[in-house]
């Protein structure tokens, strides 16, 4: 088996006297979807923040493509191909899908005009159309403000915006929490496509049927530690709930 795309070993994180992580471990390989589940306060968000550069762990090791590393900031992590899709899916509603996709990564024109900051809107629209096509995000038009799209399309664009730039790992913090059934299916479809291209996907979700349907593996966090690992197709809802609540305990930290 290849080295994990991203691996956390024995991470601890304390905020004052609160121990959010108490020796948590986690790993995800290229081309697999790993669901990270746990009850509220189990430390999921903290663990993801540590692995995405938004927080620094108090102790422990992070390995990126097999080599020990640290991410100084989310920007640092992004530069190395690690993206995060946040729960609230913040987009700029007045900008069109292409502008949102390229926000902060605009393509400039060649030559002097580009040096002056002039954008190559045509190239961005063309590439955006390609990327949306690749990820299966269906849009009628590329130049209407995102705010005027339907909820599901808006969410798909928001997810696509991070996913497009994730060459190695993408974290998704409850990307479907606020969605209806059809919209949720679309987002899950995007997740599968990204996985099929060899990106490691980490999915945080409270929706157990969704977890079992989309992920390859499941890692369970409880009280700041990893307590269980499952292969999704062998696991049952009872297994997951049992591990989350402490009824079932697989591994010692």
């Amino acid at each position: 088996m290849t080295a994990p795309a991203l691996e956390a070993v024995d991470l601890t994180k304390t905020y004052g006297s609160v121990e959010a992580l108490r020796g948590a471990s986690f790993s995800v390989h290229p081309g697999e979807v790993v669901a990270l589940i746990g009850d509220n306060g189990a430390g999921k968000s903290t663990l993801v923040k540590c692995m995405a550069g938004a927080e620094q762990p108090t102790s422990g090791t992070i390995r990126f493509e097999g080599a020990e590393t640290r991410f100084d900031s989310p920007t640092d992590a992004r530069r190395r191909g690690i993206e995060t899709v946040y729960q609230d899916l913040a987009v700029a509603p007045e900008l069109d899908p292409a502008a949102n996709l390229f926000l902060g990564r605009e393509i400039r024109r060649p030559g002097v005009l580009g040096a002056l900051g002039m954008l190559d809107k045509k190239a961005m629209r063309r590439r955006a159309a390609e990327e949306f096509g690749r990820l299966g995000v269906a849009l009628q038009s590329i130049d209407v403000p995102i705010g005027s799209l339907s909820g599901g399309q808006r969410q798909s664009v928001a997810v696509a915006r991070s996913v497009v730039w994730a060459s190695k790992v993408v974290f998704m913090d409850e990307p479907t929490a606020a969605l209806g059934v059809v919209q949720r299916e679309r987002v899950l479809d995007v997740i599968r496509r990204v996985r099929d291209e060899g990106v490691a996907v980490v999915l945080i979700s409270h929706n157990m049927p969704e977890v079992l349907s989309v992920s390859d593996r499941v890692e369970v966090l409880r009280l700041g530690r990893r307590v269980a690992r499952f292969t999704a197709k062998d696991a049952t809802l009872e297994d997951l709930v049992g591990a989350m609540t402490g009824a079932l305990h697989q591994e010692e930290a």
């Binding site: 509603p93 400039r108 390609e130 096509g133 299966g136 705010g147 339907s150």
Partner: protein, 345 residues
């Protein structure tokens, strides 16, 4: 959505047709209003209204306000507001006049040459930038609401200008400057003041609509959170936008000095509201994220055309204030309706 349909249209997403884009643009409707006004007044006074002289006057009288409104457009697109532009204009004019007088013999710049005039221009621009920095720093770094910050600098800049001038206006403005920028013309009769304003507006339109700076301005106004997540330095960008507004208010102060030959302490107290009204009438949203420079140009001309038109057809021009007020409220109402319709989706 199945993979098949998305691949069909995914590869080549169409832009909407020009017509479809026009009809949904606020700017289009407000341009129709301006055209309608011009047609009505031309029909009512065919000998007096549609004349070269009249349009020349119109353009000159709106040039200074246009430059203020251009800066205001950037500020309002970020979701902010700048109440201080009129006072900053006076402050910049005062600093400029003081500088030019100080550099001249006997303390009077009336006969000053280009060297002194350029020093005056630099002083005006710096005077504008100082207030732009004060506004931008307090809004972007200290997170004080723009309305309050610029209400403060609205008073403070006027106070500072009055202190500098000891409470009275300076009227010793170089004749060379008045002749060149204030009343001069080029290209067969186009006033230099109008050319200056037009060049500034074109550069600003280029900056807003085609560059990364402009794109970030829209993004910050649309969603600060989304902009921040995308790695845009929101704080630094806001500071730059208020610096730009200050810079343009400084330039407007210099233009005003050249045209009126006085610092005009008492003459610009409603410039801020006129600029805001022009920008908002032009389709720029007070909620941020939406706006065009062309709309602002149209928004500047609507009140001016109304006033001129009423004058020419002998209607008391107080009606202009009422009409502008009504158009302004209507423009914001339309913007809100559009937003609500969109958010219901």
């Amino acid at each position: 959505m199945t993979a098949a349909t998305s691949v069909e249209n995914g590869g080549q997403l169409k832009r909407r047709s020009l017509g479809a884009r026009l009809v949904t643009a606020n700017t289009f409707w407000i341009a129709l209003v301006l055209v309608a006004l011009i047609i009505v007044f031309s029909a009512l006074a065919p000998n007096a209204f549609p004349t070269v002289f009249n349009f020349q006057r119109l353009a000159i009288e709106t040039a200074v306000l246009l430059v203020l409104a251009v800066g205001m457009t950037f500020v309002i697109i970020t979701g902010g507001i700048d109440l201080s532009v009129g006072s900053v204009l006076i402050f910049a004019g005062m600093v400029s006049a003081k500088t030019m007088n100080a550099l001249s013999e006997n303390g009077s710049a009336i006969d000053a040459g280009w060297g002194v005039i350029i020093a005056g221009l630099v002083a005006a621009v710096l005077g504008g930038l100082v207030w732009g920095f004060v506004n931008g720093f307090l809004i972007a770094h200290a997170k004080v609401p723009p309305l309050i910050v610029t209400l403060g600098s609205f008073g403070a800049a006027l106070g500072a200008a009055s202190l500098l001038g000891d409470g009275s206006d300076i009227r010793t403005i170089p004749t060379t400057l008045k002749r060149a920028l204030g009343s001069g013309t080029s290209f067969g009769g186009i006033p230099n003041l109008v050319i200056t304003a037009a060049v500034i507006t074109l550069i600003a339109a280029w900056l807003l609509h085609t560059t990364r700076f402009g794109r970030y301005t829209f993004a910050v106004g649309s969603s600060q959170e989304a902009a921040r997540r995308a790695g845009i330095g929101v704080t630094a960008h806001l500071l730059k936008v208020y610096l730009l507004a200050g810079l343009l208010a400084g330039a407007a102060g210099f233009m005003s000095l050249a045209y009126y030959s006085t610092t005009g302490i008492a003459a610009h107290s409603t410039d801020n509201l006129n600029a805001i009204a022009a920008v908002v009438m032009g389709g720029t949203s007070l909620f941020g994220g939406v706006g065009t420079m062309l709309g602002t140009v149209i928004g500047v001309f609507i009140p001016a055309v109304l006033k001129k038109g009423f004058n020419i057809v002998h209607v008391q021009d107080y009606w202009q204030m009422i009409a502008v007020g009504a158009v302004l409220v209507a423009a914001v109402w339309f913007d809100q309706q559009r937003r609500r319709a969109r958010d219901r989706l």
